[in-house]
Symmetry: D2
Subunit: 346 residues, 4 copies
């Protein structure tokens, strides 16, 4: 942490700041500049000390140094984290594709989608049973019935399933059905929920909040890691900006930034990022070229009849087309597509 003194600060003020730093059990390195005196704070400095120093007389600014997260940082953990689900690896050299409907609606809809996306090359089945909805009057998911349908689809196709958990009290229930638990964008800073999924021994996918910085996202990841769960996957799904032609703006640079500062795998969700089916394929290809470890794609048998997010869902044909374009881009990026899981049970 560095304290920048005002140009007009007195020697007494400088000494006062240095004294307070020492009282906090830290060391103070004073460096006299042409205009500003700067005081380096040496030691394990808490965020609260930053606030405190900010308020002392003569202080212009307090600048934190280094990253506030540790377990999520590449410095702490130089090797890529690879999350394993059965024979599937996320974060290794293969691109993993998660596909399925936004919401589980009926057994028929889910099974048909599961079969088709698997046939086209998807590795993991997605489907929401508990749906966070902006309005209380929208369809909020089938709940436990939806979880049972997911389990059935897994049994039939051998695909692992990912589904969202919204309530801390549902974590146990959802984890008894799902292979990966998803924490949604609106819950990225639901710290109670983060603590709960952190206690699991199961993979968790943490979506980036609509207006979260990459640093806040990694601090949310830190909550989960700090509880002992290291099977963590990040998912970029667009941030909120002023541009109205897409639902969100996919922050494509977040992918190489995360790869640089963290060891966690990162996948991209172009369906939620854009909100428009005809933008999903170009953004899926872009994310892959930028280094994403996988994709999450909404697919629906009849998008125009979907109970949620139809406008951004691909038809089976469109998804197949996406997969056929994805393979050469993955190869150009030095990766391969993961092979769809064989059926677990005969």
């Amino acid at each position: 942490m560095i304290v920048v003194m005002k140009a007009s600060s007195s020697q007494d003020e400088i000494n006062g700041v240095a004294r307070r730093i020492k009282e906090s059990g830290l060391k103070a390195h004073i460096s006299q500049g042409v205009e500003h005196t700067i005081i380096g704070v040496v030691g394990q400095a808490l965020a609260e000390i930053q606030d405190m120093l900010q308020l002392l007389p003569g202080v212009e600014d307090v600048i934190p140094i280094g990253k506030p997260y540790k377990l999520a940082s590449r410095e702490f953990h130089p090797q890529n984290t690879v999350v394993k689900i059965n024979d599937l690896s996320i974060g290794g050299d293969k691109i993993v594709v998660i596909a399925g409907p936004c919401a589980v609606e009926t057994e028929e809809q889910l099974l048909a989608t599961a079969r088709e996306v698997k046939a086209s090359g998807a590795n993991i089945l997605r489907g929401g049973a508990f749906k966070p909805r902006t309005s209380p009057y929208q369809f909020r998911g089938l709940g436990i019935k939806g979880l049972e349908m997911l389990a059935k689809a897994r049994e039939e196709t051998g695909m692992p399933v990912i589904t969202e958990v919204m309530a801390p009290s549902d974590v146990e229930l959802v984890s008894s059905y799902a292979d990966i638990l998803q924490v949604g964008a609106r819950n990225m800073q639901n710290f109670i929920l983060l603590d709960e999924v952190g206690k699991l021994k199961k993979p968790v996918m943490l979506k980036r909040g609509l207006s979260s910085t990459i640093q806040e996202w990694l601090l949310a990841a830190e909550y989960i890691l700090a509880q002992g769960n290291e099977q963590l996957i990040l998912c970029e799904r667009g941030i909120r900006t002023f541009e109205p032609s897409t639902r969100n703006t996919m922050d494509i640079s977040a992918i190489p930034v995360i790869k640089r500062v963290s060891h966690l795998p990162i996948i991209a969700d172009p369906s939620h990022a854009t909100g428009k089916w005809y933008l999903v394929t170009p953004l899926a290809l872009a994310a892959t070229a930028a280094g994403a470890d996988g994709l999450m794609i909404e697919v629906h048998p009849n998008p125009d009849l979907a109970l949620a997010d139809g406008a951004q869902s691909l038809t089976f044909d469109n998804f197949q087309e996406l997969m056929s374009q994805l393979a050469p881009v993955a190869q150009a990026a030095g990766r391969k597509l993961a092979i769809p899981s064989a059926k677990v049970k005969p």
Copy 2:
């Protein structure tokens, strides 16, 4: 809802859209323009139908008409909602001031603050017992001990207390201590929590999410109202923008916008909006002039020793100064300051 057809759409496509609208139990009014044919959808149109229509051949855009919230709208409830806590009214003709420390730290700190802010004219005591923190390594509050200290401060000063609830499973506990439950900005779309506080018969204060539109905020309010809890107060606390010189940007226009489209009382939190103590007073005055029903102000005996948000906390003297400047601005805005509650118990 209005469907705008592409300039190039065929008569068959127009008929197809009209047919689908009728199949959904709605009426279609076709209006041929110079460039675009427009189809009005008459009836109770769900959001899902919007997505569905968007996907039909020949459709350029689907535009929702009217507001997606109902109970929160002024059209539904033309009179101002006035929330009562004992003899205090929020949303009436008096300005209510909530003050206290960001986090409850010790009994001494809380009681000293309570006495001082009451003496300066504050009406309600604030203090966090459960604190949402960006990093897992920050002070997360005293929990139930903090709630007990708040109860003690209420007993001594007669001031009602407001405190945040983060977990759905804590709603009952917190409501057994607090006079008003606060739902924080990061939980504005924690729909499980909204449902829970909606079942209470106690006032709730709903803070605006960091990147929530006013419409999303009112839809979150709708969750609470839809469960039957009408004792609801909104709180503007700044939105996330690109400007780095304040922690957030207080959206001052949200105050008159809310007053126009909704009946709910709205208060302003300049401490969180700015993150800097020297901006709190000018923004408190501005919010009052713009029509806010009250203010929420962080005050700490020693801001430079606070365990949370010290940089934005006022000292006792600064708070007293704020209150003395507030009275004439309230009067200029045609309001008065509410009188501090008399002690409940003798």
Copy 3:
């Protein structure tokens, strides 16, 4: 400037950075921390050196210290700048009100508006002769004819006039008519234009860019000041955010921030900030309570027939009402309204 070395940086890398700093004619203060070594750069460090240091091996971050503007800073010029137009002062203890139509349309429209706003207490007449318009198909102003009408209105009412200049080549022309030249939000970083108005001996009002930080705004002001023109007024007119219910979001905190870091007067334009006439008065009062030195308000005889920005213009009655509410708020803020200028010619 401070160079933060990576936790993993070697002694050679640290020495390399220090050597390069010295080669640039600056001094390097090395400070060994627990995790990070920090190197203070002492001397007049240019922005280019920041980029250069960022690229050296072992460097994690380079943090500039202090403000990049000088002439615009309060440290350089502790007293408030007061801009004088005849007997009127902007930036002193009186609140100045600028009012008039968005665009000059006809002599009749302008004169009627000028008389009415003066009668209600306005001090300066505004009116656009050159209009920046998002679309090439919108009304772009009357040009020189508009300037002549402004001159005529000044002659008749004695009010100084302010009007926008868009082209560097028009600066001389516009300054021969106007008392204050306005540089619009879209031209805040039109550096050629800034240089030109900086050469004038006439007041300039610099609007904040739609997505400009306060620091960039003051750097744009620095362009004008650096050319020798110190008669400079800033104008906050809203920034671009994700919120759709207003055209822009008025950054009310910019007012006290500017007052703290700069000596320049600042006025607020709630008409452009909101885009909605019914929000103009509450935001005008808020800006005044927050410490603005004046207001700029769009007024039109028949807003529903205006050629530009009718939706945000006040009628004469609404403007009169605003002025009657403004006086007590100004007084509560320790200010008074400036007295409308007497007619210059008899």
Copy 4:
């Protein structure tokens, strides 16, 4: 245009709006809904009429239908525009790479860079002679000397050159040297400059403004097209968001959106979008995969000694590496890299 009447509007108010629409020479189609009456406005409706209707009694909202730009729209011009510079095509089936230093500094620097980027496969040389700089104290370019150096580099290498023009009065001068004139992000809404470059018979590249919507960008393009210059190229270079880890956020979805709604070629500038050299290659690949027609890349012989934007410049080696990764991604996207121009003169 559609007028949405308030739920509470009277028949008189509805008739009043319809009458005013007819008085404006347009037709009104009234459609009675369950809650809202909607009035379709048929005819060529100007933006001013929208403002006017908004103000009439009983009106809740006025919604424009269709796009406000015409010449830039794909509906008006279904085929892709292909801009030709000698034997090079931008917007065809080949990916074009523009490379060179941010600013022209010396003849030596420019020539060395030109030779190297050509050898690595670049097609066009970039270099700024007039530089828009946030601060008046930064290096603002060599001006005409820089233009002469660009001409010399073209003569030697045969590469066409692109350079920025900032002042309307410089358009003639710059166009006498450059093959493509660049209008920078800060000048995207400098309408005087747009008019001037619109009168040229030379290719223009229009960068997206830092906080411009895609629609505003296409309206700026419309200014140029409306003056008769159809040799227009768009350039996405990142938009301003709250995320601090990159200088801007590259809006990757803008590429397929532009391809859908417009016929103009679009290239991507990952150097300015990110501000960090190590993010340039992944974003260049992503933009290509998303369908961009070309790239603009900053390259410098010694980025750590550059006078402008060194932190985002590639070294020669890094650029060569980028080009070698680009070829397979272009191919995967169904494109090829354009072949570097042969030397014009022997």
